[in-house]
Subunit: 259 residues, 2 copies
């Protein structure tokens, strides 16, 4: 049996979890702990350490979370998603497994991430999607939201969109793309960047929401960003509207090409 | 206080319910019983009888269920959706209330109903939508499904799509429209008719699924319908993919116009 370093792609409904990251308080349910437990059962070892790419908050969902494990196993890597299924609850799905070289790190080697934040914008609430959207009954001005989103693109200091109390060495990040789409009654904010500050996407969603409601003008985004002042941005939008869509690696993309 | 007959439009996530209809076994949770209880609290009476338009099955969802109540109240009808909110669980929403004349019946006066059945068609399951879609990993042939759907339109004997054991005087119904749409990874079957037999939409969804998988040809639909044989149609697709979208009344549509 060979020891392999394996990159997992994981989807989950975050509703029932206190976020991704395992916590010392073991009564708290986390996605990481569930994945670790499932791996330990599948590989019949007590010694699995799951290293996640992104620490999603309580209630936040993922379609493309990534995590690395190291394990000695004779199970072919591409079979792991099927083999692990029966050890996972129905709200967590391992979609893909691929070998990565020693030293590969899911967080440090990430080149870009994409999130999607979804509002349900209609005169009546929709209980069917209440756990993965946020209901807004005021008619949103989508054109203004689209215009405001463009101000976010580029390499900028995004301190205004960073939750208070976060300690990072730099609040400069690069946003490659930010755009707003209306799909039926759903208003979706897609945002791709090289990294995100704590609560950054949810604060951006809350700020674009104010633009959609006409309480802020699109061109105020420039001033808000330059101010580096959290108080000028909008509220932190609720977690259930947020989904981590994709995490990209130069390396993994090359692997995908050869699929 | 005047006694009023009121038509409610109700949306619900059916996941936690044993269907719409109240059951004698009171330990079973039903949507009708929840709505009745909420009405009794709001109107402070023990005497509310909710008459629903459609008896959705366990796990089936609704965006446009309709139900009638009769009550003596000074609450203006249009305020009822807001007033009742705090008496309902978060998975049931009264979206609209409107006065209807004596003698109006939500089931007998219905002129058409629209359902939507949704498959999630991708190589990996999506846990976020697992309770309101049905996962299919084989790539579906949408063009064939669209073609097959057209055979359903018209006034026909749909006995082949009626669950065994159902006793109705006639199995003839008129389907005004049936079409299939692909929206991202979602494949949606929309169907509008003057009425539906027991499990009819779920059996149609199961049959169109077989067409999508290439196990049945679109033009076989004609033969299946003519056979009046339930065994020639596909399986009954699972309940969680089904949503009751809309119920129309000549009367209510006139009311809506004057909103």
């Amino acid at each position: 049996m060979e020891r392999k370093r394996i990159l997992l792609t994981i989807a989950y409904d975050g509703t029932e979890y206190s976020g991704w990251q395992k916590q010392k308080n073991s009564t708290v349910k986390t996605v990481e702990a569930e994945v670790e437990r499932a791996c330990e059962k599948l590989f019949q070892t007590q010694d699995i350490d799951v290293i996640g790419a992104s620490r999603t908050d309580a209630g936040v969902h993922a379609l493309g979370q990534r995590a690395v494990i190291e394990v000695e196993t004779s199970i072919p890597t591409e079979k792991i998603p099927f083999a692990i299924r029966s050890f996972l609850p129905e709200d967590i799905v391992v979609q893909k497994a691929e070998d990565v070289p020693d030293g590969f790190h899911p967080r440090y080697d990430c080149v870009k991430k994409t999130y999607c934040y979804t509002f349900y914008n209609h005169s009546f609430a929709n209980p069917i999607v209440r756990k993965n959207t946020v209901f807004v009954y005021e008619i949103l001005d989508i054109l203004s939201m689209k215009e405001a989103a463009k101000y976010l693109e580029g390499k900028k200091d995004f301190k205004c969109f960073c939750a208070a109390g976060s300690s990072v060495s730099s609040t400069v990040r690069t946003i490659f793309d930010c755009h707003v789409e209306k799909e039926g009654h759903f208003v979706k904010i897609y945002i791709t960047g090289d990294g995100f500050l704590y609560n950054m996407v949810r604060i951006i969603a809350g700020t674009l929401l104010e633009v959609g409601k006409g309480r802020k003008k699109p061109n105020q985004m420039e001033y808000i960003i330059k101010s580096r002042n959290r108080n000028l941005a909008g509220m932190t939008a609720p977690p259930q509207g947020l989904t981590l869509l994709e995490i990209c690696y130069d390396f993994a993309e090359k692997l995908l090409d050869s699929d």
